[in-house]
Amino acid sequence: MFDIFLDDAPALVVVLPLLISAIIAFMPSKIWPWIISIITLLLHLFLSLHLLKEISVSGLIIYEFGNWEPPWGISFKIDGVNIGLQLLFSIFVLVSTFYSRKIFLNEIDYRDSGKAYSLWLLAVGSLNGIILTNDIFNLFVFLEISALASISLIALGAGQNRKALLAAFNYLIIGAIGATFYVIGVGFAYAMTGTLNMNDLVIQLAQYSDGQLAIFAGMSFMLIGLMVKAAIFPVHIWLPPAYSYAPSAVSTLLAALATKTILYFFVRLLYEVFIIYPSYLSLFLDFVLYPLSLLAIFIGTVIAIYQDDIKKLLAFSSIAQIGYITLAFSLKDHSGVASGFVHIFNHALIKGGLFMAVGYFAILYKDRVTLNSLKGFGYKYPITSFALLICGLSLIGLPLTNGFISKLYLFQALYTNQMYLSIALVAVSSALAVVYFWKIVEQMWFSEIKFKSEKEDAYIYLPIWIVTISIIVFGIYSTPIIEFSSLSADYLISGYQN
């Protein structure tokens, strides 16, 4: 009986959260929505593990919805590229859901908790859809669901600060523009090829191998739309307010996973579909993505230094970190793409951990966390503070943390591509990261005010420490992350070299 479920595992990881979200939406209870979400996500993790098992045997799963064969039906594709990300997604979502309960109880009206978890699962399901889908229009649907769910989640922060509404509205407008760009691009592609399935698209596009203006226009529209969604500089402006005014649990989920999944699809589109036009691809990578990534790294870091609001500081640091990832993806070789995936994994953990810790501080301080308000927190809340310290050191990229592994492989990739200037810039930017991070540490431990330590909530610091420990473990034993990333790069780059 169970096998029936397992056969449909690729669909269930997406559909299950979406279904449950409808069920819990109007539950008046304070705790049941959370319990049901946790059970759902445990199942989700189980299904992901099952997928991993399947992939390790077969290497590729194409799941056809309703047994409609592609290119007519919608299909999901699971292969070496996304299985690692799927696993990370499952695990992190579970941890952050565990973390979210106490945070939601403090930050939003408890009667809303049913709605909050409904939206939460909606976001989880749709983001997971982005990871698995093999259909460019289906992706648009998931993009829209995830955007609407996260916008509503961000707007829930209005109970704390009315600016959350403005941030959500900003995200709505800019996100809609991005989605429109994307769907126009899809329209162009469909008009020219008559297909929406990614694998089929590759075959159909081959007939225009000499290039067609309509195709290039469509591709450009799609890429720009995705860049907006992935908050790649300079179309990142929706991200800092959205991350910083959302309820803390929501910031954690979005910062760790939302942009990462879109970045993943972005790179998949580039290296799996647009690869048939190598000249177009290298034009885009060398003259658009590469310079923009460098700008993102530098400007994101510098702006972060001048932030007083900690969540905003972290959000701008995210802009810079997304820049690291896109810089790696713009390198067009195995080492580059692999290091991009390494950083997707590592940065999801680091930023997730940081937002979790800061979110807890926001509850303890009962106001927005600014540099000033952190005075003496190192003594007051040592357990969480210490986790924050480790996550921050990892953000800087010191050895024995996973941030160092990211940096190592990024340097290696840049070096093999002989981009010495970028190496210098990355090195300088990681040194600048010390500046903004140390401002936090200084306030927490070295301000003149002294406090006695207070009791911390284990329900909150446990998930934070799970993330923190994984940061250290993957800093010392980095093989799993390296292997998943190089597997992803193998799949993607093999297309490039043929």
Binding site: I396, L398, F411, A424, A427, S430, V434, W438, Y477
Partner: protein
Amino acid sequence: MSNSFLIILGIIIPLFAALFSYVCRYNNNLRDSFGIIGGLITFVISLKIFHGIQNNEVYQITFFTLFDGVDFAFKVSALGSIFSLVASSLWILASIYTIGYMRGAGEKNQTRFVIFYSIAIHAALAIAWSGNLLVLFIFYEILTFSTFPLVGHKQNAESQSAGRLYLSILVGTSLIFFLPAIFWIWLKTGTLDFQDGGILMNKFPAEYLSFLIAMLVFGIGKAAIMPIHRWLPAAMVAPTPVSALLHAVAVVKAGVFSFLVVVVYIVGPDFLLQTKSSDWLVWLACFTIMASSIIAITKDDLKARLAYSTISQLSYIILGAALASSLALKGASFHIITHALGKITLFFCAGAIYVTAHIKKVSDLKGMGYKLPLIFFAYTLGALSIIGVPPFIGSWSKFYLIMGSIEREFIIVAIILGISSLLNIYYLLQPVVIGFTQNSKKEIKLIKAPLTVWPPLITGLGCLVFFFYANYFLNNISGVIVN
């Protein structure tokens, strides 16, 4: 006791000292005693390892692999055995001195101070015994972060901005230059292990070697070569035990030690001599020696003066490493010991003068020589050793450095070293001269702090005594140079 266990023990004991100090934070005497006990134990271990290295024993331990070709491993080199011996032996005296100073000066937060002091020593020992460049880098950073609370100890605006400068220069340079240089070496050779004769020969393009050397010497900001020296005078806002042990011994010596290690075990002196890619560094080191000596003359604050003197003396070691001839390397390695012994004496005295008479400035020392004869006696011994007057231990290292520069036919460098000694005489002995020749009308109330007087006397006399036992150290040092 097995050799690898000895390493673990030596590295962990300072951490235990820190832990026990925290546990016993309500009992001041007990809390402060762990520094001395830890110092004694690590000293015995360092001494045993020092002798073991003389007898060609191998001390190494590997924990786990960090990434391809790089393990988290410790392996004691001849150079490392010297550095650890210096750091651990002076830790004992510094712990005694700390008790006298911190209580005499009535400093707050003494528990935090003692804890981070021990952690800093832990990092210094781990640097000394690290098995490859990445492990060295890890503990290099830990040393920086653990000394930050000590520099900013007073927690006022001045010490906070000094702490920021300290951290931003040291961490910044290490992340911008040192770490990329390590990556570069790894990408070219596939390893970072320390090996006699270096690992770069035939693997690293000779035309880029001077660039790599530049990245390393500026990346290792703790070596305080100009223009990356500003953090050291800034760090003098810290209580004097910090300046004495950390900013005259552990931290700055960790810097020059790292650079020496890179030259001897990574780049390889032969490779350097062949390519002459460090010859430019000889001149930069000479410039630093002269410039900081001249700045030292203008400083009236005794600790600031000693700080600039330290910068100048550190460049002696950089100079020796840059010359890369066997005599120069011998001198540079030996200078780690001789300068540590001399400079810690001077800092101990400066602190003792501050605690007993609350004097910070050289010009205020009028007539103090008669009131504090023991301190001034110790100070004179330390100063003479640093100047390089026989029969003080400092004369040996200077002798080897001058010989090394002549060996490499850098006659001007030898002359500069001579001039620098003259400048040393002026700015180091001026406080003594003022102390004994001029009389002050001011009545100065003296506070008794005997624990601050004995440590400098011991190290000062050490400068004198070890002159006759220099061969004891030179045995290990000659193991450094592989011709």
